[in-house]
């Protein structure tokens, strides 16, 4: 058995050495396909990462009709923070509110000069727990707050939230469609390349069968070869991706988002890198297998 395995590996390696053109063609084709897919994946997870960091900003603002008295404030905050969806509630005084409004107006802040310091109401800024950054979570919190008559007005950017959620859904959908398209294209190209490789070597397959080799005996070295080529292509793709990311993508992503919150571009983590290489191996062996079934008829 061990003898057999070493024989198969030797034959796979010998094949690859003997047909450097075919071998490198298959490897590079797979590497290109894998790198393309991984690039798309990177873009999608980065957008999603950004989306998550954006959605962390989702909060409900409750305006007071009259600023609460000093001793009423603490129990109120405790009460609000006890809601299932709420992470934290922060009190914003009138002065602070105006300061923020000025900051938000930016260039236009000068326009507020001379306006009464009382202009804006005091409020409670309520941030939500990570599971509740969506329409339902906001709705539940708003419903609870409405029961309290001390709140004059509630702001929660309903419209913005909906639009944002639609956008993320769309993004996922586009990513899925493009992703499957590329996966299919990659599989197709790879299995074609391997089919051509095998086609160019059909005499070999025929003669092996004629001298009494079993189907498995014929197929295993080719499968191994496919797997090895897949491994090589996975490593190539990973190397290419790392380089591209370091030199190009990282910077471009950072600028692209013009990110308001501190968001670091994400690269593939250890597991995902492993998966990429495994995908290569799978692609190579599957491609070989599919094509072999066509060529090794006994």
């Amino acid at each position: 058995m061990l003898d057999n395995i070493s024989y198969f590996i030797r034959r796979a390696l010998r094949n690859m050495r003997q047909w450097p053109v075919l071998c490198s063609a298959a490897i590079l084709t797979m590497a290109v396909a894998l790198a393309t897919m991984a690039t798309f994946f990177l873009v999608v997870i980065n957008i999603q990462g950004l989306a998550t960091s954006w959605s962390e900003e989702v909060q409900v603002v409750a305006y007071f009709q009259y600023p609460p008295a000093g001793n009423q404030l603490a129990p109120l905050i405790r009460k609000v923070e006890a809601f299932a969806d709420v992470k934290q509630a922060i009190y914003i005084t009138k002065t602070e509110a105006l300061k923020r409004f000025e900051a938000r107006l930016g260039d236009d802040a000068g326009l507020l000069e001379g306006v009464s310091r009382d202009l804006l109401p005091a409020s409670l800024e309520i941030s939500l727990k990570s599971g509740s950054h969506n329409r339902e979570g906001v709705a539940r919190v708003v419903a609870e707050l409405k029961k309290d008559s001390r709140f004059d007005d509630l702001r929660f950017g309903q419209e913005w939230l909906e639009r944002f959620e639609n956008f993320v859904d769309l993004l996922k959908f586009v990513g899925l469609v493009l992703g499957s398209f590329f996966l299919l294209a990659a599989l197709f190209i790879v299995s074609n390349t391997i089919k051509l490789t095998l086609y160019a070597r059909r005499d070999e397959l025929e003669i092996m069968a004629l001298v009494g080799a079993t189907k498995r005996f014929i197929q295993i070295p080719f499968l191994l070869e496919g797997a090895l080529q897949g491994l090589a292509s996975g490593v190539c793709a990973l190397g290419f991706l790392t380089l591209a990311y370091k030199l190009l993508l990282q910077k471009s992503l950072q600028t692209f988002w013009l990110t308001p919150v501190g968001f670091d571009p994400i690269f593939l983590n250890g597991n995902q890198q492993l998966i990429l290489v495994l995908c290569g191996i799978l692609l190579g062996s599957l491609g070989s297998l599919v094509s072999l079934r066509k060529f090794v008829r006994l």
Binding site: R201, D203, E204, I207, M208, V211, G212, T214, L298
Partner: protein, 221 residues
């Protein structure tokens, strides 16, 4: 050893290569298969190692009906049979050594044993000095001898040789015939398809004569 019952092989509708052939060949027999070009000699041999199935009729080898054999079993049949193909069927991308070793490796033989037996077989056909060449770098006759070495290296129960001396000069032909006779003496059943009248005149053995797919002669010396 080899029994054919009413075997007919046709390609397409009107193209009949073998017609109602019934023949028995004993274990250890040496048999010539002769007949003009297109008589059906190659077709006859092809069916014995499962390269094609008869359209009608049954073929028994060692008592096993190979017309009913599944694809899984055919490799095991072929391991008992050495074939010298009319067109050699050598791999031009592999060395002579690898071409011959192939037949043994396919049977899962140990590396050490393979190299010993391959060397011996190549020596017998007089080509041990061509070990590392590619078949395409050999002369026609040398290629034919490689094909013969590959068939003999597995020490087969049955040897099917299709026109094994078509590209060999008389001297080498005699040597090859000696090899076949020696294998035959060790118990191998030999079937040799040839046009060469001088061959079976010089080494008289049983002769099966085909013409247009029919067995028209079965002559025991």
């Amino acid at each position: 050893m080899i029994q054919l019952f009413n075997v007919t092989k046709s390609y397409g509708k009107e193209n009949v290569a073998l017609r109602e052939m019934t023949v028995h060949i004993e274990k250890g027999e040496f048999t010539y298969v002769t007949g003009p070009s297109g008589a059906g000699k190659t077709t006859f041999l092809n069916m014995l190692y499962g390269a094609c199935k008869p359209t009608r009729g049954q073929i028994l080898i060692n008592g096993i009906n190979i017309t009913r054999m599944s694809g899984r079993q055919i490799p095991y049949l072929r391991r008992k049979i050495g074939v010298v193909f009319q067109d050699y069927k050598l791999l031009n991308s592999r060395s002579v050594y690898e071409n011959v070793a192939f037949a043994l490796e396919a049977q899962g033989k140990k590396r050490y044993e393979v190299s010993k037996r391959v060397y011996k077989a190549l020596k017998e056909v007089g080509l041990e000095h061509r070990l590392q060449r590619k078949p395409i770098e050999l002369s026609g006759g040398e290629q034919q001898r490689i094909a013969i070495a590959r068939a003999l290296v597995v020490e087969p129960l049955i040897l099917l040789a299709d026109e094994p001396s078509g590209n060999l000069d008389q001297e080498v032909t005699l040597e090859i015939m000696e090899l076949f006779k020696r294998a035959n003496a060790r118990g191998t059943t030999v079937l040799l398809a040839t046009h060469d009248h001088s061959l079976y005149k010089r080494f008289p053995k049983r002769v099966l004569g085909l013409e247009d797919g029919r067995l028209i002669m079965d002559h025991q010396p």
